[in-house]
Amino acid sequence: MLELVTISTLNGVLYGMLLFLMASGLTLIFSMMGVLNFAHASFYMLGAFFGFQISQVLGFWPAFVVAPVLVGGIGALVERYGLRHVHRHGPVAELLFTFGLAFVIEEVVQMIWGKGPADYRVPAALDFSAFTVFSTNYPAYKMFELLTAVAIFAVLFTVLTRTRVGLIIQASLTHSHMVAMLGHNVPRVFMLVFGVGTGLAAVAGVIAGPALVTQSNMAGALGPILFVVVVVGGLGSLTGAFLASLLIGLVQTFAVSINLSVADVLRGIGVPPPASGVLFDVWDVTVAQIAPIIPYLLLVLILIFRPTGLMGTREH
């Protein structure tokens, strides 16, 4: 039991960190440019596939460095030649542009790599057991993922708070016009932020690809959860995104390991199951089965009780 809790906590925190790696980029882009990048999970997917392809040729470690840079570069180009052009048509058009982009990226990935999973493997150097928790071996690769995520956040935090560029970015988050009038090249800052944001998503993809599955439906599976994270956390709040990522990461991971069904609970209080009908299915549902939809249930609850999200402001 304790073993299950420990493993689930580790896995849950890891999943939460991966979510935050993506949600942080998304939040930065949103706070800065006012556009919610619908294609954010697509850049995550590109990171995974680029990582896979490059690791086939050059090995995992070069791929780890090159893939996010490439994807971030593509992101910057998308901002420069696509998003910037659409900006004048309003926020709906911007969101729709990123929606179309997500669609096209998925089609292109499918076209090039097919619909099946890619054989993206954990590098041999990390393919061992880091430590043993009770009777389960915890893979070193997962520790690597965790450490990478933490390291990246440390770097990001330092850059944002202690460098000149970081200061400009922080200022542009709320007062981009003023920053422009002070002589800074705000469009270039936008391009940088978009590139870095998508690059972060790509890093998540490169390291998560071997552990989870690398397939053309990755973006479609993770995208909605990502948006639930930012809405639950409060749109535009990095702290909120962090809390929500951890919350959803832990809840989903724990839920998957709980085999309690509705029937078990109701039988415990003396309610007999129905013989047939629509609700018959619901009776046998276990918590593990509804784990994929728990984020959405959380979304509904937040909307009823705290519509601006955990840390959201009234404005957004």
């Binding site: 004048r88 048509h89 669609f103 076209m111 909605p224």
Partner: protein, 439 residues
Amino acid sequence: MSDVASDAVKVPAPGGLSSAGPAAVVRLAAPWTALAVAFSILPTIFTSGSALTMLSMMGIMIVFALSYNMLLGETGLLSFGHAVYYGLGGFLAVHAMNTVIHDALPVPLLVIPLVGGFSGLLFGIIFGSVSTRRAGTVFAMISLGLGELVASSSLILRGFFGGEEGVSTNRTKLLHVFGLNFGPQIQVYYLIAGWCLLCMVAMYALTRTPFGRMCNAVRDNPERVQFVGYNPRTLRFIAFSLAGLFAGIAGALAAINFELVNSAEVGAGQSGLVLLAAYIGGIGSFMGPVIGAVLVTWLEVMLSDVTDVWQLYFGLLFIGMVMFAPNGIAGLLMMHAPLWQARAYGSMLRLALAYLVALVPALVLLAGLILVIEMTYHLTVKGSEGTTISVFHVALDAASTIPWVAAAVLTFGGFWLFRLTWPVVGAAWHDAFAHGRAK
């Protein structure tokens, strides 16, 4: 080249029954009667079985896309999960049909779409009470989340959603009225056409009510709406519920047409498709989504026969429209409305000629792009089936360099020539409008 605010500065005067009298009634009913006549005679022009099926699909899509535009175009609500109400309408309709058949109830097929409508309204109210608490980007994300919630539930509630195979039915087994058993596609077409017309009239009428006008107002300036006494949330909630109602009817029509509903109908793909259809057609006018629905259905059927990667072309078309023609096809047409109203036919002809001049290099560019896409596809995934392909009836080997050189020439050359024609079009445009204004 265009921006979202329409160039048509004069908004058409409200006609209608205010200026009472038979002339006004005729003016009001004329377009709809013409449409009814057109719907009726279409099968005599397009007689093949596949054409009838496509026409039926178009009818369904028209209702679905119009219901979507009640949200986006009329009220400013961008939803990524509208297929929920469409799909649930379909599911409730099939279950109703199966119950009617099983219990031999005296219910004719003609009224089954009402079941879809009821379902759409019910779920629209339930989910709308939660969704419409926020607007804008957050609303869009909520709609996405709810859509995923319902789509994922389909794996759990296997009894209702029928698992992977879905739920099937037989539309000929319901009560026959007027000797119609709705087995042949032509009968189904007329059923769909009739309901489509009914829904179109209803949705248009809604735009001409106090509620409909305030929906436009809340789209343009939700803050000011409050200061004239209206609660924006209530407006959005009602719009959402009614949009669900009509989406449900569309879903029921689809259930009748295909005699099968599966969980894909509530999924993100279906939601994306109706968004594409409405947007490409043009969300700024009532008939825009109709145009989009017809075009998208046609492309979906025709393109998927020609190439495997038709969805990629769809996506690229969509992005192109978002970037260069955000008001859709209807918007592009309406840009020319002042010329039409001023009867500046000479100017319009010259403009059309300029468009033609620009069209040629544009087609060359398009050919180049298609070549690149198709060859890439055949080099990568389909490479196992050999790299020879047939593009525009010309056999090419995607693995050799010559076709790639040709593609590069077509693409870059076409783009360069296309750019050269832009000033020509610009000049023709200025001339046309200078003339038009002078009149």
